[in-house]
Subunit: 104 residues, 2 copies
DNA sequence: AAATTATATTGATGTCTATCAATATGTCAA
DNA sequence: TTGACATATTGATAGACATCAATATAATTT
């Protein structure tokens, strides 16, 4: 899938989006759930916008259920992207890290 | 040092800056050297601007020599930041990665 | 000291994007 | 089919930031 470090970094480079990612870590949430978790910080269209960005970067898994869409973090993809960054910008240390993309 | 994932991601989220990081990986270069490596893509003040951003994120090591300043990528810091991302957003995989901050 | 070289800073400008209000689309219930 | 609910899309706006030209600072040389 997509492992472009620029795309990856741009998606990460927003506070609200990282907050959403935190809430989606190890958990499936609907869009409305995410809106609630953010407690009025932003409203629904903004959350949808961020989820779309995450989807385009393949950083979320999606499951449709009735009229709701459930999202969770795609940890495997995130691991791959971090591995790409490591090999590009920290090759002296990357060798000492388990070949991450071989795990998932 | 600074391991704020937002700061880290924002610094990475620029194409020119990642290009500069690539040139500074495993190599010490002066500001003028970096300008040359970019082959006219941007000019010197812009390079200085990017290097300052990298410095603020502790992502470069700096050595002054005469009137030149030499920069190289801080691979240890980059490794730590990737580790922080992994623990925050891919905890299911982070355990399978060597405790990175214990290396350097 | 004056000139030259290397890098940093400042101010202006254009582009990108996060955000919102409003609306559209899609799905289920009655 | 109509209404209600969940999410997505659109258009507008404001703030952030990459870039440049011009200038300042700092270090070396003559």
């Amino acid at each position: 899938m997509n492992v472009d470090p620029i795309v990856f970094a741009k998606v990460l480079a927003d506070e609200t989006r990282q907050e959403i990612m935190g809430h989606l870590c190890c958990v499936w949430l609907s869009v409305g759930d995410v809106v609630d978790k953010l407690g009025g910080k932003v409203n629904q269209p903004t959350v949808s916008h961020h989820l779309k960005k995450l989807e385009e970067a393949n950083l979320v898994l999606i499951r449709q259920e009735g009229r709701q869409r459930f999202y969770t973090l795609n940890q495997a993809q995130l691991t791959i992207c971090c591995g790409t960054l490591m090999r590009a910008f920290a090759p002296n240390y990357a060798d000492q890290v388990i070949a991450i993309e071989d795990i998932g």
